[in-house]
């Protein structure tokens, strides 16, 4: 049997298969000015030259999918390693409808979803391409390249669900955060107001979600209010019990 496989390998002809390509595309979400934003790239090359698209590119021959996604994340966001360590990055879904890429090569794309903390820099593009954080509201009036509008919608939907059962809301804030900042993540991603008092009690009661640092913010809120206690992530990945969306419960 070993000989049979070796024999078969010799006669194998790669070009018998119609050519296909595999890319990774990233839905990188962050929160800026109390709005959900996504990182978009203005394409410098055809196809869709000049249009906005999700960052991404071909998977290199020696790379696993997750490696390719991590590489793209690093290249496109220009985040420092310390920040990158705290970024959530996980596979979202794969898209491969014939014709989704106009090139004479059928391209499948494995979409990844990432949650980034607030980044001060407006985003550094690696090459001549233009990169920008776009608010989700803004993207709804744009036509994105390829099927990226569909991928983006899928990513946002996944993000909304992730917040319920996981502690990933902490990926959107800094290493130390107040309960209000965490609540803001939920409110922005879910697009609904939460009850501050109940949210506060809930978060601190879920085992392992957050732990106190023992310190507080330097100042109160912009328009008044006491200083808030600072928390850090408590190590739990899954929330028990979950933090369910109010609008889904009905």
């Amino acid at each position: 049997m070993k000989e049979a496989e070796a024999e078969w390998l010799k006669t194998y002809e790669p070009r018998a298969y119609p050519p296909v390509g595999v890319t990774v595309d990233l839905v990188i979400l962050t929160i800026r000015d109390k709005e959900l934003h996504v990182l978009l790239i203005e394409r410098g090359e055809p196809p869709f030259k000049g249009e906005w698209a999700l960052p991404g590119g071909f998977v290199q021959p020696d790379e696993d999918l997750a490696e390719a996604a991590a590489r793209e994340l690093k290249e496109e966001t220009g985040l420092k390693q310390t920040d990158l360590d705290r970024v959530y990055l996980d596979q979202l879904k794969t898209f491969g409808k014939p014709g989704r890429d106009p090139r004479p090569l059928r391209v499948f794309t494995v979409a990844y979803l990432a949650f980034a903390p607030q980044v001060p820099e407006p985003v550094a593009g690696t090459d001549a391409k233009n990169a920008a954080w776009m608010s989700l509201a803004a993207t709804r009036n744009m036509k994105l390249a390829f099927d990226h509008a569909e991928i983006l919608a899928e990513g946002v939907e996944r993000a909304r669900n992730k917040l319920e059962y996981s502690s990933l809301a902490t990926s959107f804030v800094g290493p130390e955060f107040t309960i209000s900042e965490l609540r803001n993540v939920y409110e922005v991603v879910w697009g609904e107001q939460l009850h501050p008092g109940n949210f506060h009690r809930k978060v601190v009661s879920v085992d392992g979600y957050v732990e106190e640092t023992g310190r507080t913010t330097e100042r109160g809120g912009e328009r008044g209010g006491p200083r808030a206690r600072l928390y850090r992530w408590g190590g739990a990945t899954q929330l028990h019990p979950a933090l369910l969306r109010p609008s889904e419960t009905t």
Copy 2:
């Protein structure tokens, strides 16, 4: 710009890319004799000739991924269309580690997860290949082809989670079922006993999960007990509130 893209298309050279291939592989789960089973195929061709693998194959040029998965499901299970309509089939995850396929073609596989109702036939293979429902316990002592053991584990894990928040347990039973049969699905997939009384009340209380047919089984249980009422799926896809695994709640 239109001219620029047309120009670029002409100069484009597909063979500049190293050759890659894309397959779909299916984790098809069903319940037989109070055990979770998966459909496996004994490979008739290299690579891994003679070893057991998940059913699957190359995505055809004109096919979308979901279409390819549905085609493979139909071909490999030999299920009738009426049964196929009730099978759950959804994308699981994509795998593409370099070297996962020994051929001189890099193969990415998009794994799909399917839940099938009890099928009387032992499974009809389309060609010379041997196909069989294997219990999960049995697969743990086997070496599966490619990285299919990893894919299978991922599928089982996803199945366990799906039961909590969705009504997909009904995909494992016939169009009409008793609460006990449904409970059996949960017990087998989760691998733990559930309280019959509490489970019963819970299931009938979740809005839209099941609805009564007004009829009962013809006979009681094998070893006694009254006839059970027959239910059908009530139309809800998400469960509110969810049916959480006892062992996860602690």
